[in-house]
């Protein structure tokens, strides 16, 4: 096929100028695009209003379709489960028996815990739950990892609030619109969560790797104390995330960093819970009383 002659205005002056003006507009528009990127480098949430408008427009579509296809994300699992039904059944039965005893033990420990906390006069702070909603879509063609939540400011979900599922942490709200909010997922490389190992208190930092996995780095440099199978939970350090939310399980150790898989898969969770940002200081309302006793005692010490 020969090239179509459309781009040659010939001797028509008006058409020549029109073509030239078109290129001027295009080049300056591309420059404006670059400028917007530069603005976003310093203020990543700067154009939140525009983004949330898009979210509001597509919300009815996404939310409706989400309800229709809530099972699609797990189709592969269901097929595999069908083929392995027999052996899986036996395995699960054994696991249920084992778990039953553990549950009884856990209930006893919980009772004891409650009693000890009363002794310590610690007041259990409220759960901080704001709203439960669904994740309705995500940035599936971009290299950023964001999801759109079907709840916004009018439901009480504001920027900065942590988002969790029953299985574990999902992320935090980056920008909130009237009825939708953008959630920065745990697996985005901008998401940084202070965590600790569940069985002891070794602290670490959990960062996303953008490909669905997480990187866990121990806070004490030099050695890597983590092993595959270790469960990481939030430590509550620095506020924002409540302590003891399950985050990830370590799957591989690579030198001084560990690669982990998130415990809550945003594609599979039915609903997520938006929580109030956690403040470490509010957990102990009885603190002033011991402080008064400690104050006179302090000069005696030297």
């Amino acid at each position: 096929m020969a090239r179509p002659p459309s781009r040659r205005p010939g001797y028509d002056r008006k058409a020549q100028y029109g073509l030239f003006a078109g290129y001027v507009v295009a080049v300056s528009g591309a420059a404006v695009g670059l400028l917007l990127i530069v603005v976003a480098m310093f203020d990543p949430t700067g154009f939140a209003a525009i983004r949330s408008t898009a979210g509001e427009i597509t919300r009815p579509i996404s939310a409706t379709m989400r309800q229709l296809v809530s099972g699609v994300g797990t189709v592969d699992e269901q097929i595999v489960a069908y083929f392995r039904a027999g052996s899986q059944n036996v395995g699960l039965r054994r696991q249920v028996d084992a778990n039953r005893t553990r549950l009884i033990e856990a209930a006893a420990i919980e009772q004891e815990n409650l009693r000890l906390k009363k002794l310590l006069k610690l007041v259990e702070d409220e759960d901080g739950e704001v709203v439960a909603a669904r994740l309705i879509s995500s940035s599936s063609s971009s290299s950023r990892r964001m999801a759109r939540l079907n709840a916004g400011k009018s439901q009480g979900a504001y920027a900065g609030m942590p988002v969790r599922a029953p299985e574990g942490l999902i992320g935090r709200i980056q920008t909130a619109g009237p009825n939708t909010a953008e959630v920065l997922l745990l697996t985005d490389s901008q998401s940084i969560v202070p965590v600790r190992r569940a069985k002891d208190n070794i602290a670490a930092i959990c960062t996303g790797l953008d490909d669905g996995s997480l990187e866990i780095r121990s806070l004490n440099a030099g050695n890597n104390p983590f092993k595959p199978g270790d469960i990481m939970v939030t430590s509550g350090t620095g506020g924002l995330y409540r302590p003891n939310i399950p985050v990830a399980i370590i799957v591989r150790v690579e030198g001084d960093k560990s690669i982990a898989a998130p415990l809550a898969n945003p594609a599979r969770v039915e609903a997520v819970i938006v929580q109030r940002p956690f403040e470490a200081t509010v957990t102990r309302p009885a603190a002033p009383a011991p402080a008064d006793e400690a104050a006179p005692a302090a000069p005696v010490a030297p």
Partner: protein, 170 residues
């Protein structure tokens, strides 16, 4: 009784002629509204593929600046930093315009080559912009997306051609 359908000699409405390509590209950009919660960039940039298809199929259809509003719309939908597709798509359109001055003969394979280069440029450029604004990831992260976007182009171009036949026949 003459059945309704495409027939020669009719006059399609101006709205259909102008709006069909624009609407299809915007619908392609809106595919991110599907309820897929992706853990990596899996969805091909369908808006971009449609833009390239229309541009290569009908060079006289659009001036180069049409990529500005379409790119802006795509940025709103995709989760990329605002301005990313605006800049990259427009540069792509200008580059295609200039490549057409050099290429005298063009066929299916050259179209695919041009579209492939454009897809690689736009996706890796988008990754670079995402990294500049706080994201991360290497080219390995978007390599699968690039691969199946390039492979998907002939299919999208085919659908565009089919739509185009409907568009110009009233």
């Amino acid at each position: 009784m003459i059945p309704e359908g495409p027939r020669l000699g009719g006059n399609p409405s101006r709205f259909r002629l102008k709006a069909t390509p624009l609407i299809t590209v915007m619908l392609g950009s809106m595919l991110t509204a599907l309820p897929i919660i992706a853990q990596s960039p899996v969805l091909p940039p369908v808006g971009l593929l449609l833009l390239l298809s229309w541009r290569l199929l009908r060079p006289e259809l659009w001036p180069a600046w049409i990529a500005l509003p379409l790119g802006f719309f795509d940025d709103m939908m995709s989760g990329q930093p605002l301005g990313s597709a605006m800049c990259l798509w427009t540069l792509t359109m200008i580059a295609i315009d200039f490549s057409e001055r050099r290429l005298i003969w063009r066929d299916y394979w050259q179209d695919w080559l041009i579209a492939g280069i454009a897809v690689i440029f736009c996706i890796s450029g988008g990754l670079w912009f995402a990294r500049l604004t706080g994201g991360g990831g290497t080219i390995a992260l978007v390599a699968p997306q690039i691969l199946w976007s390039v492979l998907l182009y002939p299919f999208v171009a085919r659908q565009c051609a089919w739509l185009d036949r409907w568009r110009i026949m009233a």
